[in-house]
C-alpha cells in the first residue's frame, strides 16, 4: 500500500490544488459569487433596504436610459481615438529613443516619469494647464497663431484633452516598446538595408512583424482599460465644472454636457449615489459582456503566441 507521502508526491494535481486554494477561494468570493449575485440583483429592485422582485424592469430601463447610449458613444470614442493614439504615440517615442545616441537613458526617464504621477494629480494639473483663462497651454498655442479652445469645458474638446493627458502619461508603453524594439535582431535590419529597403520598408518588414504580438497585447489591454475609464474623466469633470462641487448642489458626472460620461461612472452614480442597485447590476453585466469580448481576443492572442514559441 502506497503511503500517503507517496500519493502526495505523485499527484501533482493535488499539490497544485493546495497551492492554488487561497487564490481559488479568492476567485470564488470576489469573482464568481459577485457575478452570480449581480445577475440575481439585476432582476430586483434594491436600495440596500428593501429588496423586491422587479422582473425585467431594470433591463427595460437600459433601453430608456439616454445616458447608456451617451456613455457607450464616449467609450467608443476612447477605444477608437484615445487608445490607438496613445499606442502609436508610444511606439513613435520608443522608436525615437532607440535612435538616440546621446542621453537615451535620460530621455527614457523623462518620458516614463509622468506615468507614475498619480492620476488624480495629473488630471487636476492638466485641467489647470489647459484652462483658457489661466493656463499656459493656450498661451503656448498662441505663439503659433492657434486660438486654443476651452479644452475641458467644451464638449467637443474634452475627450481630446484627456487624450493629451493620456499621451503625457504613456511612459509604461514606451518602455515596453523600447524593450521589444531592442529585441529585434540587428542582422535583420542590416539584411534589409543591403536589400535597399528604406526606413519605412524596414519598419514594415522587420520591426512590425517582430513587434506585432507586443503591439497587439498593448492595444487590447488598453482597450480594456478604456472600458474601465473612470478616474481621469471623473476628476476632470469635477475640477472643470468648478461651481458644481460645492455642497448643496448635486454633481452630475460627465461635465461638460455628458461628454466625459463613461459607463463605469454612470454605474457608480446609479449604484452608489442613486442606490438603484438592481439597475446598476444590469449596467455591470453590460460592462462585463463588453470586456469579455476583448478578453477573449486577448486570450486568442496568447494562445497564438504560446503556440508560436
Amino acid at each position: 500500500m502506497a503511503s500517503l507521502a507517496d500519493v502526495w508526491r505523485r499527484r501533482e494535481g493535488l499539490r497544485a490544488l493546495v497551492w492554488l486554494s487561497p487564490w481559488l477561494a479568492g476567485v470564488a468570493i470576489f469573482f464568481v459569487y459577485p457575478l452570480l449575485s449581480t445577475v440575481y440583483f439585476s432582476f430586483h429592485r434594491y436600495d440596500m433596504y428593501t429588496l423586491e422582485f422587479a422582473g425585467l424592469d431594470n433591463y427595460r430601463y437600459l433601453f430608456q436610459d439616454p445616458r447608456v447610449l451617451t456613455s457607450a458613444k464616449n467609450t467608443l470614442w476612447l477605444v477608437i481615438v484615445l487608445v490607438p493614439a496613445t499606442v502609436l504615440f508610444s511606439l513613435a517615442l520608443a522608436q525615437l529613443v532607440v535612435r538616440l545616441k546621446a542621453g537615451a537613458g535620460l530621455f527614457r526617464t523623462i518620458f516614463y516619469l509622468p506615468s507614475l504621477v498619480p492620476m488624480a494629480a495629473g488630471t487636476i494639473t492638466f485641467v489647470f494647464l489647459m484652462n483658457p483663462a489661466t493656463g499656459p497651454w493656450n498661451q503656448f498655442l498662441a505663439l503659433f497663431g492657434i486660438q486654443g479652445p476651452d479644452w475641458f469645458g467644451d464638449p467637443a474638446w474634452s475627450k481630446p484633452s484627456l487624450t493629451l493627458l493620456s499621451l503625457w502619461s504613456c511612459g509604461q508603453l514606451v518602455v515596453i516598446f523600447l524593450a521589444a524594439l531592442l529585441d529585434v535582431p540587428k542582422h535583420l535590419y542590416e539584411a534589409a538595408a543591403i536589400d535597399g529597403a528604406g526606413p519605412w520598408r524596414q519598419f514594415r518588414s522587420v520591426t512590425l512583424p517582430t513587434l506585432a504580438p507586443v503591439l497587439m497585447f498593448a492595444l487590447v489591454t488598453n482597450v480594456i482599460y478604456a472600458l474601465q475609464y473612470f478616474t481621469q474623466a471623473m476628476i476632470a469633470s469635477r475640477v472643470a465644472s468648478g461651481s458644481t462641487d460645492s455642497p448643496g448642489s448635486s454633481f452630475s458626472p460627465g461635465y461638460p454636457d455628458e461628454s466625459l460620461l463613461t459607463l463605469p461612472q454612470w454605474l457608480f452614480q446609479v449604484g452608489f449615489r442613486d442606490y438603484s442597485m438592481g439597475y446598476a447590476c444590469v449596467l455591470a453585466l453590460l460592462l462585463f459582456a463588453t470586456s469579455m469580448i476583448f478578453t477573449l481576443i486577448l486570450l486568442r492572442q496568447f494562445r497564438r503566441a504560446e503556440e508560436a514559441s
Partner: protein, 448 residues
C-alpha cells in the same frame, strides 16, 4: 492545506450572510422613541457622549457661526461633545448611512433627499420624540414643515431657511429700479451690459445661463409659476406651458449675448464661494441669489453698495411678484446613529432654541424658521435682509415638491436646459416631452 477549510467557510459565511440578509450592524444605538424617557432633561441628565455631526457649511465664516451655535448647546449639555465634519454633501450622507457608518446628526443644505431619506428610513422618524418632548411644530411655517417631511414622516426638521431673490449692484444699475417682470429684466440686462466690439463681455447685466451658480431650474421655476409634477408624481414639465415660457425667455437673452461669448465670460468668473465672486467685483449688475449672500457680502465685500428685491416674474403673472423659491437646511438623526438620544437633543436645540436660531441667523444671514425667532427683536433686520424675510413669508412662495428622484429629475431638467441654451435642441416641445419621459421612466424604475 489549512487554507482550504478557512477560505471555504469564509466564502460560505459571506454568501449565507448576504443571501439571508443578516445584519452585522455595528454598535448602533436604539432607534428614537424606542425607550420612554421622562420629559425634563434636567431631572435625568443624559449620559456623556461624543456626537458626530455632518454639515454642508464650507466657508470659514459659516463653519465658525455653526460651531458657535454648537457651543450654545454645549453650555446646556456639557457632557456631550460634538465633533463637526464640514462640507458634507447629500450623496455622501446617504452613502454613509447605507454603508452603516452614519453620523449621529446630519444636516443638508438641500431638501432634495428628504423624500428618499424619509421613505427609506435612512433618517429616523422624529414624530415619537417630538410628541414625547412636547415640541410644537406649529411654530414652523407650513412650507418649511412640508419640505422637511415626506408621506407623514417628519424625519428631519428645518434648521434655517433659504429664500431666493434678486441682488443688484447699485453703481452698475445707473439709477434704474430693479425689474419686476422678465421683459423688464431682459431690457435692463441688455442696457447694462458692457461689451467689446467683438462681443467679449466686460460687464453683464444679468447672466441668463442655467449653468451660472444659482440659476438652477428649481430656483427659476417660481419666476413663471412652473409646475414640476402632476398629482400622480409624473412629470408636468412637458405639459405646463410655463416652462416653455421660461426657456424661451432665457434663450432669447442668451442669444443676444451669443452663447460662446457668454460661456467665455462665465468661465472667466471667480468662484461662487469666494471673495472673487463676480457680483462683488462689479462684473454682473444683477444676480439671482439666496439670502445668505448678504452675509457673504458683509464678510468678503464690505464696501459693496447693493440692493435686493424679489425676482422679476412672468409678464402675465404679476400675482407672483414678491414670491420666490424657498428651501432650507434640514437636520435629522440618521438610522444607525450611535447616540440617538443625545443626537435628538442637539437637533431639538438647533432647530427650536430661539436664541440659537437668532444668533445663527444673524451670523449666516439665513432666514430663521420658527415664528419666535422671526419675531425676535434680536434678529438683525436691515432692508436687504428684510426683502428675503418677506419673500419667505409670501403666500405664493414655493419649494420643489418632494420626490424620491428629486435629484435625478432636477438634473434631467438642468441637463436639458444646458443643451437648450447652447442651441442643441431643435424642437423645444419635443425636448420637454423627452424630459418628461426621462423622469417618468425613472419613476417606474424606482417602483413609484
Amino acid at each position: 492545506m489549512r487554507f482550504v477549510p478557512l477560505a471555504v467557510s469564509a466564502a460560505l459565511a459571506l454568501t449565507a450572510c448576504t443571501l439571508s440578509g443578516c445584519t452585522a450592524n455595528k454598535e448602533a444605538g436604539p432607534s428614537l422613541g424606542a425607550q420612554p424617557r421622562p420629559s425634563g432633561s434636567a431631572a435625568q441628565p443624559l449620559p456623556a457622549a461624543t456626537l458626530e455631526l455632518w454639515h454642508g457649511f464650507s466657508t470659514d465664516a459659516e463653519v465658525k457661526a455653526f460651531e458657535d451655535a454648537i457651543k450654545g448647546f454645549n453650555q446646556k449639555f456639557p457632557q456631550i461633545t460634538v465633533k463637526a465634519v464640514k462640507g458634507v454633501q447629500d450623496d455622501q450622507i446617504t452613502h454613509a448611512i447605507r454603508g452603516g457608518n452614519a453620523p449621529d446628526v446630519a444636516a443638508s443644505f438641500t431638501t432634495d433627499s428628504v423624500a428618499q431619506w424619509c421613505r427609506s428610513g435612512s433618517f429616523q422618524d422624529l414624530t415619537p420624540v417630538i410628541k414625547q418632548d412636547g415640541v410644537d411644530l406649529s411654530v414652523l411655517p407650513e412650507v418649511a414643515r412640508s419640505y422637511s417631511s415626506f408621506e407623514g414622516r417628519q424625519c428631519t426638521l428645518p434648521l434655517l431657511a433659504d429664500a431666493y431673490g434678486l441682488y443688484y449692484n447699485k453703481a452698475l444699475m445707473k439709477g434704474n429700479a430693479p425689474p419686476r417682470t422678465l421683459s423688464e429684466l431682459t431690457a435692463l440686462a441688455k442696457k447694462l451690459t458692457v461689451r467689446d466690439a467683438d462681443g467679449t463681455i466686460k460687464v453683464a447685466g444679468f447672466i441668463p445661463s442655467a449653468q451660472y451658480y444659482e440659476n438652477v431650474p428649481s430656483h427659476l421655476a417660481p419666476l413663471v409659476g412652473a409646475r414640476w409634477y402632476n398629482d400622480d408624481g409624473t412629470s408636468a414639465i412637458g405639459s405646463d406651458p410655463a416652462w416653455k415660457k421660461l426657456l424661451t425667455w432665457q434663450k432669447e437673452l442668451v442669444d443676444w449675448y451669443g452663447y460662446a461669448n457668454l460661456e467665455k465670460f462665465r468661465k472667466s468668473l471667480g468662484d461662487e464661494w469666494s471673495a472673487k465672486h463676480p457680483f462683488y467685483q462689479g462684473k454682473v449688475a444683477m444676480v439671482l441669489d439666496g439670502e445668505w449672500r448678504n452675509a457673504m457680502i458683509g464678510n468678503e465685500a464690505k464696501g459693496l453698495d447693493y440692493g435686493t428685491a424679489p425676482l422679476p416674474v412672468a409678464d402675465d403673472r404679476p400675482d407672483l411678484y414678491g414670491s420666490g423659491f424657498t428651501a432650507g437646511t434640514v437636520i435629522g438623526v440618521p438610522k444607525g446613529a450611535k447616540h440617538p438620544q443625545q443626537a435628538w437633543e442637539l437637533v431639538k436645540y438647533l432647530t427650536t432654541d430661539t436664541s440659537s436660531l437668532v444668533t445663527l441667523s444673524n451670523a449666516l444671514r439665513n432666514v430663521p424658521t420658527t415664528r419666535a425667532a422671526m419675531d425676535s427683536p434680536d434678529l438683525a433686520k436691515d432692508a436687504n435682509f428684510t426683502t428675503f424675510l418677506n419673500i419667505f413669508a409670501h403666500p405664493k412662495t414655493s419649494t420643489i415638491p418632494a420626490s424620491v428622484n428629486s435629484v435625478f429629475n432636477q438634473e434631467a431638467m438642468q441637463t436639458f436646459m444646458e443643451k437648450w441654451e447652447k442651441g442643441a435642441v431643435p424642437d423645444l416641445d419635443a425636448g420637454l416631452k423627452g424630459v418628461d419621459k426621462q423622469i417618468d421612466d425613472k419613476l417606474k424604475l424606482s417602483g413609484g
